[in-house]
Symmetry: C3
């Protein structure tokens, strides 16, 4: 556990190969200029933002692989649709609710639309006219980053929360009502609770600590999914009489594996970008630590889930291992800035164990979670948030307050929305449509028209 | 629509967690040094270039998912082959035709190969010898970016244009003639028309405006695909007597969905990188705006296609929604620098509507476009280019001149190449090979040898 | 072959569109500050590291596509498990063995765990206290990059080496023994030989040159795979009497294609990041050259494999072309810093040819390599390392010494580990389990439960 500050690397060799340049040739110690810091901060939001955006593909593939083939096209549609609606709603109203306002405590600003800053527009208009550019440049740089880059980065987070819901309620939720739910979740519910912490509201002032959103993103998605699963009900035939549980295996496990790898890949953006700055050596160091912890926690989740399912069932359940990776990632998300990476492995491994324990438990409660999202995102989200109170600098009691307050808010508001939808549009397809599969019923097509069982249906 | 320059973000919290560093600790206002700007500009080309490179995978998956299983391995082969040939041709001749020359008006330089700059090679050779490095360093930095990084970024664009063609003419085009077409398209046709605008040729001098290539990349690919579809003809059985159209559904819709998500992901490189610089706050701001507009236009395309197909057909066609996303992306590509993001949503939504309208129309014209590329890339490419004349600063008449000039050039030159191929090598497989599927006929293998119908063929 | 230092690009146009900013507006020549260089070096490790991490998904998809459907879930499990174990082992012991120590010659430090540097932790603790931050900031910046970022980048390399093995020995290797092998390979074998060159050990001192690991990563994986294949033996029925070879085609070729594209995408991180610095114009130029050569070598491998299989077999074998891309990439990996890109095309094309020649040869030797990894990674790894002695600045004899020394070490150590496993845990499943498929035997599930043949098994 001793730190080794000076590692020997390939650099010397590479310097020789490439002609001798490298760090050694750089000038004496000098700081990062403010405008350079602005560019680096902004670019960090963009790069990490596109990584998180790609998580939408990860969720789509994970869920495509874990549903039955008759519902595959429908889940693909839901995923691309919810990502789109999330972005539009967050532009129309959500970002302002979450982040804008002079003093945020319970809610941000209720103004509509979120566009570039005035100083930014003035700077772009000034062009090569250095005199005209001076004042707006100073004002823009003083903000630390481009406002559009921050919007982009925050937007992909709200989309993640919505993605979590779609998997749990797959194979029986009606399309349009779910889209309405997504619009409310991403435009209103998520932003309001987000403002409490990340918008410097009351939870932030209490000291609630959630680096990249174990609670604020993953548990929020998990709570909304749980309420949805309860109100929509289980798939026909999932739970039989006498507590029997009928397995309904996913149709395409390599796609589920791909989805998990994409999520893991995107999580470097999710956690790494949540450092929120790259304009100094300290930020770069902190961000690097976050990357390493993120990776090791996921690895811990995989190994723990693998060993545990192997020990319990004598067979190693791939879907459990995939959820173990996700559980490890969710668990470290509240505190990926730990300075001892061994702790990250432990936090992630506990996440993997929780998934293996929670999935059958939730089944036994007759809650039908098609992809295991409640276990991976809600249970591990709670664990990760508590872990910051154990291994990090946060106050354990405050962490519990945050978990409960956000949980209560999301359960109540989601419940109201799902409830209204249930008694107006309805929230699930007919039994006939469910038997036929949502692909034919709602989309009029098949995901795999030529393959096996699918081709006979 | 009011701009909010100072958003409250998670930064304050993160600063607290990570030890208090952040923008606040950086020094007083100072500029980006020229060498730093050089590094940032270069890195932007590399990062955005690898994103666009990945679009080759996106096209491969989109097309793999939308063809029938008997032609799936063949379309995979075509996609990896065309990406390879595009890169080699652009290195051998294309880049020089497009960008090199003292004064370009109708065509660039016809010299062969494109290698690093002399000053760059001298700088690398100088190594740690600061005296020897001084002059070449100044010369290299004065160029603003590494020439290889620019080549890389431009190369992935030409590959995109070629990728568009393969989808339209899938399932009946012969392999080697198509490869010859790709070589001519990427080595000669694309670069010459590209030089007119991006090589500072006559269209640029007229003021034609196409930020990242709605016309120069997407419509060019679309025109070449249209001409190919006309000369090669429709798949056997696609169009029956009396105007009947026989649907030939794609074999693997989750792969098509994945392909669309990959394209969306890569498009941040396509449009964001086309800012062409990251060495100042103004560039970083402009790039961020481009990212946001790119995302929102795609979202607009998705929602519009979803609502429209839902309204018209009562079922929501997934492939139409996927093409709606692509249509939205293509539509914003000519002008993603709009400073009001609401306009980007509208531009993208119109793109999504155009796709839904154009796909059946092109079917009715008995043009067999397997994946809908003509609708998404050509029709929306034209729309996006016109939109810059409506919402942006471009002259509407000049935009029309550019669209028509480039369209005429590509239609004529593509027609000549496809025509020559038709009367020499032939451009389509035999009826027997088409029935058997290209996988067995041209590759001697099956894409899915164990799955359903595929395993019996 | 003449270099063109000043290309005309889209920049002028984009500057006009975006309001006139760009490189032209930046100040007079000035250097990169040391702290900025630190940030850029670190961010390069992170960005290129996440690209290489994604190669784990590439290997998973490539192998998923090339095995039969009854072994698909098992290979997915192996890939996510080995990536996880590699990371944990490299943290526990591997990185220290490879890189840490005052003077490394045959082995690094045998200390456990690798955490952030003391100066880095002090800097983070100092926060906004500029006085307290000054000394640790200077010390951290003097290291050139964050140590965690370097760990992350090096870790994804060791995972790549392990990924190579899983493909060769797929469809019959037992799960847990393979995991033990992975732990030893990534924790001990790979790091020790890696220290010889990249840890500045005896091979580096001799002048052995392997920029990004044709030998150190790819051949190492290839040798371990070869020894594994020999000790585990061929799949039942693969090799019949009288030298007959029974083809066992992969179940899902679009996934194999996707995997190859992901590997290609990730390789920009693999080779580009191996420049190991981004803090100067010279580094940015060198990195850009690496990107271009990487892409062109892969393209050369594709075209060579395509033309050769077309010429020999009259049909173009997709799997051979995919391996041609990988062979081209592996071939350029030892020397992607060539300053004439034409040479990169040639080096890659020879790699593609070697794959087409080696695959049937290895079959004839009755070595059962399920995915062709020995050909693509070992054979081309040797070729690429030799190529640096031909086209690069390395001494040909020293290159041979390195190839032989590393090969001998890995063959012997892998052989010992595989041998011990064979006589303790056993290394392959029973014939019955092999017939049934590893998915059912070891995981108790099916990868594609609803598709065709798979649904009957």
């Amino acid at each position: 556990m001793t730190a080794k500050p000076m590692s020997i690397t390939r650099k010397v060799l590479a310097m020789g190969l490439a002609g001798g340049m490298g760090v050694a040739a750089t000038p004496a110690l000098a700081e990062v200029s403010t405008e350079t810091a602005f560019v680096l901060n902004t670019f960090s939001f963009l790069v990490h933002g596109f990584l998180v955006m790609f998580m939408a593909a990860g969720f789509a593939m994970l869920e495509s692989g874990l549903v039955r083939s008759k519902n595959t096209a429908a889940i693909c549609l839901k995923n691309i649709a919810l990502y789109s609606i999330a972005g539009i709603m967050y532009y129309l109203i959500g970002y302002n609710l979450m982040y804008v306002g002079d003093s945020i405590s319970w809610i941000g600003s209720v103004t509509l639309l979120y566009n570039p800053g005035d100083s930014e527009i003035a700077l772009l208009a000034a062009g090569d006219d250095a005199a005209a550019a001076a004042a707006p440049l100073a004002a823009a740089v003083d903000n630390g980053y481009s406002v559009a880059s921050d919007w982009f980065f925050q937007m992909v987070f709200v989309a993640t929360a919505a993605s979590i819901v779609s998997g749990t309620i797959a194979e029986r939720a009606k399309f349009w009502p779910f889209m309405i739910f997504v619009a409310v979740l991403t435009g209103i519910i998520y932003p309001i609770q987000g403002s409490w912490t990340w918008g410097q509201g009351w939870l932030a002032q209490m000291g609630f600590s959630d680096f990249a959103g174990s609670t604020i993103v993953h548990s929020v998605g998990g709570w909304a999914a749980l309420v949805g699963a309860l109100i929509i009900g289980a798939r026909k035939g999932k739970f039989g009489p006498g507590g029997t549980i009928h397995p309904m295996p996913g149709a395409n496990l390599p796609l589920a594996t791909l989805g998990t790898f994409i999520l893991w890949f995107g999580w470097f953006g999710f956690n790494g970008g949540s450092q929120l700055a790259l304009g100094s050596a300290a930020d770069a160091i902190a961000m690097s630590i976050v990357y390493v912890n993120t990776n090791l926690a996921a690895a811990g989740g995989v190994v723990a889930a693998m060993v545990l399912t192997g020990a319990i069932y004598r067979k190693i359940d791939l879907t459990m291992v995939l959820n173990g990776a996700i559980g490890g990632l969710v668990s470290i998300t509240a505190g990926p800035d730990l300075q001892n990476h061994l702790v990250a492995i432990i936090v992630g491994a506990i996440g993997g164990i929780l998934v293996v324990v929670a999935v059958p438990l939730i089944d036994r409660l007759k809650i039908d979670d098609v992809v295991g999202a409640i276990s991976a995102h809600l249970v591990c989200g709670i664990w990760g948030t508590l872990a910051v109170g154990i291994f990090g600098s946060a106050n354990f009691g405050v962490q519990i307050v945050g978990i409960l307050a956000i949980g209560a808010f999301v359960v109540i508001t989601s419940g109201i929305v799902w409830g209204i939808l249930r008694f107006t549009t309805g929230v699930r397809v007919t039994d006939e449509e469910e038997n036929e599969g949502l692909d034919k019923a709602e989309l009029g097509m098949e995901a795999y028209p030529e393959f096996g069982a699918g081709s006979q249906r």
